[in-house]
């Protein structure tokens, strides 16, 4: 079973059904609650886990680029509202992340076990660099040593560690446990 098959099957349909939209809404709510209520209190390795980013990547891997981009936009927008952060910044980054992760799932043929880890790692890297660039453009201080040593590196480790269990949960929720059993049998 490769990661690309799952997303490609989804992409062949036009739009998600209402049942799928309902399930995605639950994932969206979970992402927001985890990011706003839990993440600020889980400081590990000097960084906070980015549940929103991880979940956007997982949804994109399971559902494809279009759904990934829309889901990323909504996640970024709502988390910015809930955390009183500037509108549009997280949304912009998450749209890109969702789209690229989805495209990767639709085109690459990596084993499902490796893909979430690799994708979350690269997504964290891209998001970190984009957000640091945005801070620079907003005339805020961005010391490179601090950024690489105390922001990017811990985030890469932490998010990658969390990627596998979250991907598993998102995939089971969105596609059912039968999909996993079938994948294991193949």
């Amino acid at each position: 079973m490769t990661i690309s098959r799952t997303a490609r099957q989804t992409n062949e349909r036009a739009w998600p059904t209402w049942a799928e939209v309902g399930r995605l809404a639950v994932v969206l709510l979970a992402a927001i609650l985890l990011q706003t209520a839990l993440a600020p209190h889980l400081r590990l390795l000097g960084a906070y886990p980015d549940f929103a980013l991880i979940i956007v990547v997982c949804v994109a891997l399971v559902k494809g680029s279009e759904t990934g981009a829309v889901f990323g936009f909504l996640t970024g927008l709502i988390s910015a509202i809930a955390l009183m952060e500037p509108f549009g910044l997280s949304a912009f980054v998450f749209v890109l992340i969702g789209y690229l992760a989805g495209r990767y799932a639709e085109t690459a043929d990596l084993p499902a076990g490796v893909a979430p880890l690799l994708t979350v790692f690269i997504a964290t890297l891209i998001a970190g660099v984009l957000l640091a660039m945005a801070q620079f453009l907003l005339a805020r201080e961005v010391p490179l040593g601090f950024f690489f040593g105390r922001v990017l590196l811990p985030s890469l480790v932490l998010n990658t560690l969390l990627a596998a269990p979250i991907y598993l949960l998102v995939r089971v929720w969105l596609r059912g446990a039968g999909d996993l059993r079938a994948a294991a049998a193949r």
């Binding site: 992409n11 609650l33 990011q35 706003t36 209520a37 839990l38 993440a39 600020p40 209190h41 889980l42 400081r43 960084a47 906070y48 886990p49 980015d50 680029s65 279009e66 981009a69 829309v70 990323g72 936009f73 970024g76 927008l77 709502i78 509202i81 809930a82 955390l83 009183m84 952060e85 500037p86 509108f87 549009g88 910044l89 949304a91 912009f92 749209v95 890109l96 789209y99 957000l131 640091a132 801070q135 805020r140 201080e141 961005v142 010391p143 601090f146 950024f147 105390r150 922001v151």
Partner: protein, 276 residues
């Protein structure tokens, strides 16, 4: 069919990216009463109780997590505290024999009398309902807003000292910029002594006292409090922290003073807004 799907995918991406940029531009260009801020205020009014409830529900788990973290750091803390006690005892014995100690104690007594904090102000108690996880901002959201009398620039305190100041106010919530934020600047004085300077945060979370004249005598352990001068947004005498180290370089005009804030910013829960 395939080409149509590719086109649709690209259009979706382009529209969402443009929408994000438009929102970002609108957010920074408009005033606090603009549309984007209005939407944020409306949504926060609706989800505020949910955030507040979630913060309460998750408190036992957070306490448990902190307790585990404390266990790991307890051993090193005990060692550090033992060293500190020894140093304090030695220091105390030495100081008791000098006249300088009398002066210091008298000055400290005056400080406590003159700058009782906070005095003659109204306080609004609020709970921290959200905090950003971004490394670039040090902000929290509290459960009190304009309907409680909270206004922009109001100082926020807790039992330990100065937490920060209000930067954005909505009806039932407000955003607080913490003392550790890189855009936080607080007009302050060193007590005893009265040396003046600006306490500023940084992206690394370190807090420093800047613009203190090289001729001013500042010692490790002295207190930093808000100055409360006419142009300052803070009332006088709110404790900020203690001098941790003082560095002076010949080429610099000012001293480089590191501060250890009184407030534990990682464990903010209940705070009070000083209504001016």
């Amino acid at each position: 069919m395939n080409r149509r799907r590719v086109l649709r995918r690209r259009i979706v991406l382009a529209v969402l990216l443009l929408l994000s940029v438009a929102l970002l531009t609108a957010y920074f260009r408009e005033s606090d009463s603009g549309i984007a801020h209005g939407v944020q205020s409306g949504v926060l009014r609706a989800v505020g109780p949910l955030q507040s409830g979630t913060a309460r529900v998750t408190k036992p788990f957070r306490d448990g997590w902190n307790w585990v973290g404390d266990l790991f750091s307890a051993k090193s803390q005990v060692k550090a505290l033992k060293n500190e006690v020894q140093q304090l005892r030695a220091g105390l014995a030495s100081e008791l024999t000098t006249q300088a100690e009398n002066d210091q104690l008298r000055a400290l007594l005056d400080f406590q009398k003159d700058h009782v904090f906070p005095k003659d102000v109204d306080l609004v108690t609020a709970r921290v309902i959200a905090r950003t996880t971004s490394a670039w901002y040090s902000t929290v959201t509290i459960s009190a807003g304009s309907s409680d009398g909270v206004d922009v620039y109001d100082p926020v305190i807790n039992g330990q000292g100065l937490v920060g100041r209000i930067t954005t106010v909505f009806a039932n919530s407000a955003k607080v910029m913490l003392v550790t934020d890189q855009q936080s600047y607080i007009d302050s004085i060193v007590e005893p002594g009265g040396a003046q300077g600006i306490v500023s945060g940084s992206v690394t979370g370190d807090v420093t006292l800047e613009y203190v004249d090289k001729n001013e005598k500042v010692k490790v352990g002295q207190y930093i409090v808000t100055s409360g001068r006419d142009s300052s947004v803070f009332v006088r005498g709110i404790p900020i922290g203690q001098v941790e180290s003082v560095g002076t370089q010949e080429v610099e005009l000012y001293q480089s003073i590191a501060i250890k804030p009184w407030v534990d910013f990682r464990r903010l829960d209940i705070v009070q807004v000083v209504i001016r």
